[in-house]
Structures are given as C-alpha cells and as structure tokens.
C-alpha cells in the first residue's frame, strides 16, 4: 500500500514548519525522514489526523487520509505497556484485540522473549518493552508502519531484531515510514533517507550502486597525490576562526547536503572540503570511505556489526560509541584492508 505526501506544507503559529514537498512511499520499501523533533511530532500528528496540512494532501492508497485507519499502524516513541501483565498475557491480549491469526508463541520467538514469557512487563528492560510494542504492531499487521524513533536507545540485540523485522516487512510488501532524528540509525534502517527541514526535502545519498568507475578514478587520483604530503592538518570553520586538526584526532566525517562535518570527541566541525577531497587527503592516514556519506578513521573502529546479510555498521571506540553505516559494497573492501579476504 502506498503512502503519499502531495505538495504537503505546514505552517504553525505563522511560522513555517516545512515547505511544500512531494514524497511517495511504495509497498515493500523502508523510507526514513531525518528531521528535528518539531517536524517529527508535526508529521506524527498529521498522520494521526490530529492536525491538518496548511496545504496539500496526504494520501493512503490513493485516497485522502481518513482519521482512523487500521491499515496504518504506529510505533510511538513514548508508548506504554500494560506493566502488570506478563509477556504472554499481553501478547495474547493484542492477538484477541486485533483478531489476529498469528500464533502468540511464534511472535514471542520473533522478538526473542521466550525466556521472559512469564515475566511481568514492568520487569523488562526498556529495549525489551520496545520489542513488546513491535510485537503488538506486528500482531496488528498494518499495511503502512509509521515508526517514531524506532531504534532510539535500543540495545544491540533489540536493534538486530528490529532490523531483521524490517527485512521481513520488505518481503511482505509492507510500507515502512521511519521518523528519526538520528541520521546514522536512519541510514542503517532505511532504503531511502530524506532530510526534512524548513528549507525543504532533500534526499540523502545512500544508494549502493553508485558509479564504480568514478570511484576508481578518484582512487587513482588519490594514489598520485599521496607522495608529497602537502600539509597534515585539516582546517575546519568555527565561527570566524579556522581550527586545524590532526588527522588521528578525527573520529569520522559525515556529509550532509554537500557540507562535510568532522567529528572530534563527539563534536561536529564543518569542513572546507568535500567528502571526496577529504577522502583523498586522509587515505594515507588510515581513513576509509565506508559509505557514500561517511569517512571513518579505521584506527578508531572497535567493532563491525552485521545486522542482516546486507546491512552493517561500524562502532567506534569514542566515548559515545558512535555507530556509522557501512555499505554492502564497502564491506568487501574493508575485509581486504583488514587482510581477511
């Protein structure tokens, strides 16, 4: 089932929340919108039918969105659970409520709570409670899944369960719409990622099938420029000042909307260079282009996590344990660098 935003525009209290944009989601895809909290909550309210667009329309399966549609299921950031029920009782309740043909045991296995089957929900960890919510939504079995910050504060196991659930939903032809304020998480989970802000909607490049030829050219160019080390510090803009950083200090570099940001000890510094320029300069220092929009300092990588067969991420050893997406095509390259062909 498709979900479409047509010339959707929203003003609130005379201020523009987001300008008109067009976006349509098709069955079997996971799409994420990366935005700030304001826009995220506005979008949720619009989809819930609690507020209406200033202009344009939201369509569900080609029809204007009705106020309550069981075709659409929501995962809220601050959803609650029935804390005095056990896992089994709660899921049985959702099954009866939605009159679902699914077997409760299968679902418990899917969210991997078999060992906690008879544990009361209030005794579960926040990540496990989130899995209960995912299970409830799975039982509801909507065609369009709207998820608000689905992987915020999730532990590793829950994240893995979440991502494999997404794979299952893709094959089942469901439409998944993720609203997130975390770009890394959005990129790992979704097929298409957009940034929505007061300037409009932009696609964030995540495509894996980028022209390989171009990259090869870049690489050879990089190889040539290795010999004379022009200067080893990377300049960044901080207000009106230019701050120079040693390459080993940099944790990773992220690019968004054509601007690249250096991340050093959890802080972002805008850089003067594009990602490809930085890639060339930093290659000799053990940096690696792990994704269309990311360069990582391999010295800082602690773990490589395989979520599903084709989604990976790198966990750094900085204080925040930042995780950075690693694209499928780059995985092989990385293995080569690590000498594990």
């Amino acid at each position: 089932m498709t979900l479409a935003f047509i010339d959707a525009e929203k003003h609130k209290n005379d201020a523009l929340v987001f300008p008109a944009f067009n976006l349509s989601l098709i069955a079997g895809e996971v799409l994420a919108i990366y935005s700030n909290v304001n826009i995220r909550s506005q979008l949720m309210e619009l989809l819930l039918g609690k507020s209406s667009l200033s202009q344009g329309e939201i369509q569900l399966a080609g029809q204007a969105l009705a106020q309550k549609s069981v075709k659409m299921g929501f995962l809220f950031l601050n959803d609650g659970v029935y804390k005095r029920l056990t896992v089994l009782e709660a899921l049985r309740f959702y099954k009866n409520l939605h009159n679902s043909p699914d077997k409760v045991d299968d679902i418990i296995r899917k969210v991997q709570l078999e060992l906690k089957k008879n544990t009361k929900l209030e005794k579960l960890t926040p990540s496990e409670k989130r899995r209960i919510q995912l299970a409830a939504l799975y039982i509801q079995n909507p065609d369009v899944w709207v998820m608000e910050e689905p992987d915020q504060n999730l532990d590793m196991e829950s994240k893995r369960i979440f991502l494999s659930l997404l794979t299952e939903l893709r094959t089942a032809g469901k439409t998944v719409f993720i609203l997130s304020g975390n770009l890394e998480n959005a990129v790992i989970a979704a097929d298409r990622v957009y940034r929505l802000d007061e300037n409009g909607l932009y696609q964030i490049q995540t495509l894996e099938e980028e022209p390989e030829v171009e990259e090869k050219v870049e690489e050879s160019a990089a190889a040539e420029s290795i010999q004379p080390i022009r200067f080893e510090k990377i300049p960044t803009k901080v207000n009106e000042k230019i701050v120079l950083f040693d390459p080993p200090e940099i944790d990773y570099i992220e690019s968004s909307e054509g601007q690249s940001f250096l991340y050093i000890k959890g802080e972002a510094f805008p850089s003067y260079f594009t990602l490809s320029e930085l890639e060339q300069r930093l290659l000799p220092y053990g940096f690696f282009r792990c994704h269309r929009s990311y360069i990582v300092n391999l010295q800082k990588v602690r773990e490589v996590i395989t979520w599903t067969r084709n989604s990976y991420s790198l966990v750094l050893e900085d204080a925040k344990k930042s995780s950075i997406p690693l694209s499928k095509s780059k995985m092989a390259e990385l293995k080569g660098i690590l000498g594990m062909k």
């Binding site: 819930l48 609690k50 309550k68 069981v70 299921g73 929501f74 809220f76 601050n78 959803d79 609650g80 659970v81 029935y82 804390k83 005095r84 029920l85 009782e89 709660a90 309740f93 009866n96 409520l97 939605h98 009159n99 009361k120 409830a136 509801q140």
Partner: protein, 235 residues
C-alpha cells in the same frame, strides 16, 4: 458482531488480570464489605444503613475503580494504542466497564448478604441497582478521562464519595435550608426512595418517577462521557 464481542472480552480479561494484581486499587473492594459485616454483626437493620453500604459500594467500586482503570491507561500511554486499534469507542468503553460492573454487583450482593438486607421486591430493587450502577460507572469513566494519573483519580473521587454516598445525610437539613432540596434528586437518594416504597409494597408504576430521575442522570453522564472521550481522542 462476533468480532466485537471478542474484542470486548479481550479488554475485559486484560483488565481483570491487571486489576487483580493492582492491590492499591483492588483493596477498596473490601471496604464496603467490611462495613456491611460490621453492621450485620451489630444488628443494624435500617433501610438507610443498608443503602449507605450500597451507595458506598457505588462510589468506591463503580466510580473509583472505573476511574482508576481509565486514568491508568492514560498515565501509561496505553489508551492511545486502544484508540488506534480496530475496537470502536463503544467496544473500548464497554470492555472497560464490564469488569467494574461485575465487581460492583458482586460486592453489592455480598454486602447485602453480610448486612442481612432482604428487599420485599427483589426484581424492582435489582433493576434500580443495575440502572444506578450504569450511572456511577459513566461518572467514573468521565472522571478517569479527566484525571491525569491514578494519584489524581484517588483525590477527585472524594467529592463524589461525599456527594453521592453521604448526600442522604443532608436530607434532614433540607427543611431548614431550602437549597438542600436539590439533594432529593440525587440518584442515591432516589434509590433509597425506591427501596422504601418497595418495602411498603409498591410496584413499578409507583416507582416510575424515581426510575426516570436515575435514568436521566445515567443518560446525562453517558452523553457527557462520550463527548469528553471524543475530545480526548484528539489529543
């Protein structure tokens, strides 16, 4: 229809399990029973005493328990999930009210046995009690939608307890202060009226007026609840 009953049943069962483990709320069931047992042993056998217990049950069980059930769903953010499920407003509210209704009737019957109350016409009295319990449950739902937490629910129940359970105590003062004549129209007072008429051998036709007044209270509370619920759905 069949699916609708299934959903109501699902909500009922969920609430039953949840309620039986929520000692802070379920303990109120024993309060009217305790008073009833005390009266029974003391040999108090006036109609007013029996109806004090029944009206106390209405406030403590029907209104308070219902209020807590709804307020807790709101506090835990689970009511929104129910509202977004295929269950309709009517199904959700009747599922939640069913448990309170069953509990209320059980406590009233047990209380009447303990205080040894035997009405002259069981049919009329039970009809009146069932109709009244609808009113108190609707009132509980209303307050539950109003209250933001279980804590708040247990505070706003106090005026209800005062007005509806002990309102009849004000009756003797009504001659002195004509304003208090309003008290006569309270559903609790009307219920006592029905009961005393029944003891004098009255039938349906003589008590129709009282039934009418209780019905108006019930209908008004029900309508108000539906409106507030629709409003709450929007936020």
């Amino acid at each position: 229809m069949n699916e609708s009953i299934k959903r109501v049943n699902a909500i009922f069962q969920k609430d039953f399990k949840d309620f039986s483990r929520n000692i802070a709320v379920s303990v109120v069931l024993f309060m009217p029973l305790f008073v009833a047992a005390l009266y029974g042993r003391m040999g108090v056998d006036t109609l007013d005493a029996h109806y004090m217990i029944i009206n106390l049950t209405f406030a403590m069980v029907a209104t308070f328990v219902q209020c807590c059930l709804i307020a807790e769903e709101k506090e835990q953010n689970t009511l929104r999930g129910l509202m977004l499920s295929p269950a309709s407003t009517f199904e959700i509210l009747s599922g939640k009210s069913l448990l309170t209704f069953v509990l209320t009737i059980l406590v009233i019957v047990a209380g009447a046995l303990l205080s040894e109350y035997q009405p002259a016409n069981l049919l009329i009295v039970s009809l009146a009690i069932v109709l009244s319990s609808f009113f108190y449950i609707a009132l509980g739902t209303l307050l539950g939608l109003w209250a933001k937490s279980v804590m708040e629910a247990s505070v706003i129940i106090l005026p209800v307890l005062g007005i509806f359970s002990f309102g009849s105590f004000l009756l003797p003062l009504a001659e002195k202060y004509p304003v208090l004549k309003v008290v006569e129209y309270l559903p609790s007072v009307q219920l006592i009226e029905i009961a005393s008429k029944v003891e004098n051998g009255a039938g349906f036709s003589e008590t129709a007026m009282q039934f009418g007044i209780i019905f108006i209270w019930t209908a008004a509370a029900g309508a108000l609840t539906a409106i507030i619920y629709k409003k709450r759905m929007m936020d």
